[in-house]
């Protein structure tokens, strides 16, 4: 029992230290991705996990169906996940990549709010759980 708690403490310290570099592990963010995975499975029984490549495509493609001023994520969010972007009204948007911005995607309400708005602005519809998960997986990998 004592050994076990020591191991947990050690691994916490270790992951915190390493976390600065690998950056990707965050319980709150993991839970958000897990929730999307559960939802995706419910929406589609043949769900086979999230794909960073699909997320990359979603982020970089030009879409139709949304608002004319915002055909792509990159319309506002810089051209790469590492670049800062700018809203149409001129406010700076911090980079989307988790390595650049470790605080990203850790607040469920915020994540839901922005997916809801921006998917409708860019795609003209809400995103599927699959798309949201792909997008997060891509940004976490960056």
């Amino acid at each position: 029992m004592k050994m076990l708690s020591l191991a947990i403490a050690l691994s916490t310290v270790l992951s915190a230290t390493l976390g600065a570099n690998t950056a990707q592990a965050n319980p709150a963010r993991d839970a958000i991705v897990a929730a999307f995975a559960a939802q995706a499975k419910a929406e589609n029984p043949s769900f086979a996990g999230f794909s960073a490549a699909a997320g990359n495509t979603l982020f970089n493609s030009t879409h139709s169906g949304g608002k004319p001023d915002t055909p792509s994520c990159t319309s506002c969010h810089g051209t790469t996940p590492f670049a800062t972007g700018e809203t149409r009204a001129g406010k700076v948007i911090e980079p989307m990549a988790v390595s650049k911005n470790p605080g990203r995607y850790t607040d469920t309400e915020k994540v839901d709010k922005w997916f809801f708005r921006n998917c409708r602005s860019v795609l003209g519809r809400e995103c599927t759980a699959q798309e949201k998960g792909d997008y997060l997986t891509y940004m976490i990998s960056q």
């Binding site: 608002k67 809203t87 406010k91 709010k113 809801f116 708005r117």
Partner: protein, 373 residues
């Protein structure tokens, strides 16, 4: 002495303070007119100083009109209407009686100018307090009073300009008729007086009495204005910051002051966030309700600032767009379109790029500073 040949002698008519008064007034009125009519808004500070200076000069002249030297005294150029009419008739027949100091027509002009200048400065003070919410009457005068005073201020200014034209015309007429260079007289103080005219016994100035009167007047009017100025500016709300409003709106754009649109505009904007100026800005209902309540409680109707009064009148086509309101369009028409493209400005939606006090909703003229690039 060659002077014995000439049948005139020189008399010191205008004492130094009167001459300094005259040319300072010329300068301040010019500055006031230029900054009032031609200069961009941010010269307002200079306009105000010209106004305050004019008040002091007029007060000085009235005091000096009692305690100054002979020809500066108001009583020496206070004429009856009969005398004024008689003089004008004489001028008309090109044979005016000689006056050492002001002639009756000139004297009438002095009183008219002083009267108009008092009116202009007082109405200006009311515009400042009422419309701009600045100066000693910021608390005492509401926007409506200021708006009314603005009409009076500009009407009187037009009358002033007409009087100045008449004044200069009168001076040149007298120069033509008498051969006396009045402009030079107002610089060195001397006028030629025919030997046939015996000057009155000269009374010297009483500077000490004048200073005492000036000080007394300044103290009375100063403390009166100070008393007014202790009143808090009218029509400004005490507004606690709302975190939802600041973060939700401020995530995407400059946070606009709630006084910049009327309640109906804010309400309809908050009800159509799914298409917010071409973007989906939907909020969770709980947050949207809270922000709507905050905006309604602090909407333009609740304020008496110039901006709030003006922006209550929205564009019928775009009632939720501040930059489409008639007043906004009119004021910014003066601004070159290229200026909005400057990097430091960033477009019409960036109030605070130029209006340094945009966050307070005041939008004082003096706080406009346009980025150079």
């Amino acid at each position: 002495m060659p002077d014995t040949e000439i049948k005139d002698h020189k008399v010191k008519v205008w004492d130094l303070p009167t001459r300094i008064f005259h040319w300072s007034l010329v300068a301040l009125v010019m500055i006031g007119l230029i900054t009032g009519f031609l200069s961009p808004e941010w010269w307002m500070g200079v306009h105000l100083w010209a106004g305050y200076g004019t008040v002091l000069l007029v007060i000085f002249r009235l005091v000096w009109g009692i305690f100054g030297s002979e020809y500066s005294r108001l009583e020496t150029f206070t004429f009856t209407p009969r005398e004024v009419i008689a003089h004008i008739r004489e001028v008309f027949f090109l044979r005016p009686t000689h006056y050492i100091g002001h002639n009756p027509a000139g004297a009438l002009m002095i009183f008219a100018l002083i009267f108009i200048l008092v009116g202009i400065t007082l109405s200006g003070l009311l515009v400042l307090g009422g419309e701009e919410n600045q100066g000693p009457l910021a608390g005492a005068a509401n926007y409506q009073v200021g708006d009314l005073a603005a009409g009076i201020h500009s009407t009187l200014t037009v009358i002033l300009m007409a009087l100045i034209v008449f004044h200069v015309f009168g001076v040149f007429t007298e120069i033509r008729l008498s051969g006396e260079n009045l402009i030079k007289s107002m610089i060195d103080g001397y006028k030629r007086v025919p030997d046939s005219i015996k000057p009155p016994t000269h009374r010297d100035a009483r500077p000490l009495a004048a200073i005492t009167a000036m000080t007394g007047f300044a103290m009375i009017s100063g403390s009166l204005l100070w008393a007014f100025s202790t009143m808090p500016p009218s029509g400004l709300l005490k507004m606690t910051e709302n975190e939802d409003f600041q973060t939700e709106c401020g995530d995407c754009h400059e946070v606009y002051h709630p006084s910049l649109l009327p309640r109906a505009s804010w309400t309809s904007m908050m009800a159509s966030l799914d298409d917010h100026f071409g973007e989906d800005a939907s909020l969770p209902p709980k947050t949207a309700i809270a922000i709507t309540a905050y905006l309604s409680a602090h909407a333009a109707e609740e304020w008496d600032t110039e901006a709030a009064n003006r922006f209550r009148n929205v564009s019928p086509e775009a009632p939720i767009q501040i930059s489409a309101t008639p007043y906004w369009v009119r004021k910014h028409n003066e601004v070159d379109a290229d200026i909005f493209k400057r990097k430091g400005v960033g477009g019409k939606s960036h109030c605070k790029s130029c209006h340094q006090d945009a966050a307070s909703g005041r939008f004082d003229d003096q706080n406009i500073k346009i980025p150079k690039e």
